[in-house]
Amino acid sequence: MATIRAHGIAAQLPTRFEGRIFVRPALVGTSYPVGQFATFPIPDDIGDFGSGAVNLMGPDDVFATLFEYGPESLGTALFSSQGRPSSFAPDDFSPMRLRRGIPGQSGTQRFFTEAGRPFSFYAVLGSHVRRQSLVPRVNELISSLLISPASNPTQGTQGTAPRWN
């Protein structure tokens, strides 16, 4: 299994997964690490939550983003769950939870705090109908993640603008 690690996040990629862990150059303020993982080729120029990628998914594909928020989110109700979800159930996925509603797909999102860092984990299934076989792939991925305390966020005044979707 291939393992990637950067910015205090490591992932032992399950079969056929590829991924990247990066910090976008901050145009203003501070940007934090993002991990993107998929069972299909991830284009380089996509949004943090998969815009530009989810439209390329096949019915057997999975896409997931691990997105870190700033320390101001620590202690808030949204991030009160300690530790990432150990696994997802097929019912956790719904076409209504997609950031971009592409017919046939479904998604889920969880907010949590781990290693003193606030995160959200957002996953998309290429086919909601096939969620019984695809959700275990998401669970494989999320169980392979390793999050370490603290990483130095990127501060800056130049570079590409943050991407929200």
């Binding site: 291939a2 393992t3 990637i4 690690r5 950067a6 910015h7 990629l13 056929r16 997964f17 590829e18 991924g19 990247r20 862990i21 990066f22 910090v23 998929a38 069972t39 299909f40 080729p41 380089d44 120029d45 439209n55 390329l56 998914m57 096949g58 019915p59 057997d60 594909d61 696994s87 997802f88 159930a89 097929p90 019912d91 909601h128 109908v129 096939r130 969620r131 019984q132 959700v135 275990p136 669970n139």
Partner: protein, 274 residues
Amino acid sequence: MVALVVVLTFVVLLLGVLVAGLLRSHADILRSLHELGVGVGDPAGTSERSAARNSAPPVPAWSQTSTALSPAPTVVGVTPSGDARAVAVDNSDEFTLLAFLSSGCATCAAFWEALQAPESLDLPQGTRVAIVTKGPDREIPSEVAGLATGRVPVVMSTEAWLEYEVPGSPFFVLVDGASGAEVGQGVAPRVEQLLDLIRRAEHDRGKQHRTRRRPSARRNGPEREADADEVLQNAGIRPGDPSLYPQSLEDVFPSGSGAGTTPGSTGRQSAQTQ
């Protein structure tokens, strides 16, 4: 006197061993060069092949087989900016071209430029290009960053060079994503020759190639419509089929079917036990 003869004999023997070793080393070098196709010292130097090699433009050394060479590993490394990147070569139905380039290699310059504009190369549809340099231990990240345009993945990974047994740059490996195996590898001195080799590999793959029907951003409306029609027909769904006209969400996601579950059903339990 006897001592002198003994010493001289010993020296002669020593020199003999030395000469034999040198000859053997020379033969090993010639054999290696011959295997690489250089042909220096080739006893068949006047053969047709050598004559053709001398008169025609350099022929790319490219090994290609109709059967897959070997499973291709995921390329794992860092980007020039220090982020982590893994490029899998077995998660696509199409070809992945891994271009092993260096920042300081003169021959590589044309490939750096051409391969980062893959849409202008007339590659087989869906072919993905990834550039792999040696890791930050062997390459200067800022120099690689200066060459990277961000249009194709650029991964710095000495490990990948070792795994793919790259002899030097530029070197190319073509992987068929459907099988996850290498279908060709070697060197090509010019971009045009590399493209010719890729097209040949595509031709060899022929019509046996089956895709997993992944949408392409490049296909237009009528092409997507034709694809949808084909998939539906293969599934036995003809025009007018009732499944094409759902009356409710239940018709689309039947709760009692094996494909879906209702909240609290066994689907949740089975997933949680994994």
